[in-house]
Symmetry: C2
Subunit: 231 residues, 2 copies
C-alpha cells in the first residue's frame, strides 16, 4: 500500500524554516536519519482510530481528512489538514492511541518523526519547545474555531464556508477541483448528502458558482461571502 517517497534532506525541507527552525545542525541531522517520508495515494489510510501513536506526523504535500467512523456507511469528518499541518493534532501528547482515523484525499506525502526524538528535543532545546508548541497549538485552535464556525451556521452558510475554505485557504484560486465527494462534504459539515447537492445546485442556478462534477469555479465571491457571514 504505502510507497516510500523520494527522501529529502531535512536541511532543504521547507518545514525546516517553519517548525524546525530552532533546531541545531546536529539535531537536524538526527531527524534526517530517523525520519521517514511516506507517499500515500488518494484514498489510502495513514492511520486508523486506535492505532498506537509512535510518530509525530506532518503533511508535506497533499490533503488528508481526519475523521471518526460512526457506522458502516457513515463517517464524521473532523477536519481537513493541509500541507504544513500536524495531522495527529494534540493527541500525540495527551493520548497513547490515535482518536481519529486519517486518510489521504489527494496523493500525499507524510513525514514521520519518532515521537521520542521530538520529545527529547523539547527537553533539551527550550527555544524549539516554545516555537513548536505555538505551531501545534495554532492547528488545534483552528480546528475548534472551524467546528464552531460550522455549527453556528445553516446549510447555505456552511456550504459557502466550505467553498471559501478550499478556495482561499487550500488552493488559493477561485477555480479548483473538489478533492472530496458530496457525501464527504456532508460528513464534514453535518448535513445530508442530498442537501449538499441541492445547495450546490442552487448556487449554480444563482450564478454564484460554476460546477461540473468535481470542478468548481467561484463566480461571485462577494455573494458567497455574504452567505457565509449571514449564516
Amino acid at each position: 500500500m504505502e510507497i516510500n517517497h523520494k527522501v529529502h534532506n531535512c536541511k532543504d525541507c521547507v518545514y525546516r524554516s517553519w517548525a524546525f527552525k530552532n533546531l541545531s545542525d546536529e539535531e537536524l541531522k538526527l531527524i534526517n536519519t530517523k525520519k521517514v517520508e511516506k507517499f500515500y495515494r488518494k484514498g489510502e489510510h495513514i492511520c486508523v482510530e486506535g492505532d498506537e501513536i509512535k510518530d509525530f506526523m506532518y503533511l508535506q504535500n497533499g490533503l488528508v481528512k481526519l475523521y471518526k467512523t460512526e457506522t458502516n456507511t457513515r463517517e464524521h469528518i473532523i477536519s481537513i489538514a493541509k500541507p504544513k499541518d500536524f495531522i495527529g493534532l494534540l493527541s500525540v501528547f495527551s493520548n497513547k492511541a490515535h482518536i481519529y482515523s486519517i486518510t489521504a484525499i489527494e496523493d500525499s506525502v507524510v513525514c514521520f518523526v519518532d515521537l521520542e526524538l521530538i520529545k527529547s528535543f523539547i527537553k533539551s532545546n527550550g527555544i524549539f519547545a516554545i516555537d513548536f508548541f505555538e505551531k501545534i497549538s495554532a492547528v488545534s485552535d483552528n480546528v475548534i474555531k472551524t467546528r464552531v464556525d460550522i455549527n453556528t451556521r445553516q446549510l447555505r452558510g456552511r456550504i459557502a464556508y466550505i467553498l471559501l475554505l478550499f478556495s482561499k485557504h487550500i488552493y488559493n484560486s477561485t477555480k479548483f477541483s473538489l478533492p472530496i465527494s458530496r457525501k464527504e462534504i456532508a460528513e464534514l459539515i453535518d448535513m445530508s448528502t442530498e442537501n449538499v447537492i441541492r445547495v450546490l445546485s442552487e448556487f449554480r442556478k444563482d450564478k454564484l458558482i460554476q460546477i461540473e462534477g468535481k470542478s468548481i469555479e467561484i463566480l461571485d465571491l462577494e455573494k458567497l461571502e455574504k452567505f457565509y457571514e449571514l449564516g
Copy 2:
C-alpha cells in the same frame, strides 16, 4: 469587582502535584511570589474576547464558561471548564489576544501565572515542558471531542449529554444544582431555549429526571445513557 482571595503557598496547592509536579523548589518559589489568585463571584468576567493574553490561567475552584458573543442577546458557549482546567486553552501559545470570553458561572478562584515565567520554565526545564503540554493538550483535545459529540446528536441526545456531563464529570453525583440557565444550556448545545425546556420537561414526565428550578436529580441513568448513545 474582583476580590483578592486568600493566597496559598504553591507548595501546598493541589495543583503542584498535578501540572507543576516537575518544578524544582526554587522554581516553585518563584511562581509563588509571582502568581495571583483571584476570586470571582458568579457572573463576573474573568476576561473578554480581545483582551491581551498576559497570564496563564487555571481554575482552582468553581466553574467557568468560555464563549463567544454573537449578538447583543446571544452568546455561543464553547465549553465549561472545571477545576484543574487551563481556562485560556491553547490560545496562550498561538495568540496574542484571547479569542473567547470567560465568565464565572459559580463562585470561582482563578490562579494567574505570568506567561513569560511559564515559558521560561518550559525553556529551562524539559521534564516540566513535556508534562505540562500533555496536560494542556488533553484539555483542548477534550473540547474538540465535546463539540463533535454535541453536533452529531439531536435534541434529546444533547440534553442527555449535558445532564451526564454535570452528573459524572463535574459533580460526581446524580443530584446537583444546575449552574447555568436554560438559555445557557441552549447556547452550549446549539438549540433554542424553548426546546431545552421542552426536552427537560419531557424527561421529567418520563421519569428520567426530577427537576425543580435549578435542582436536578437523575432518576434513570440507564435510559439517559441510551438517549445519549442513540443520539
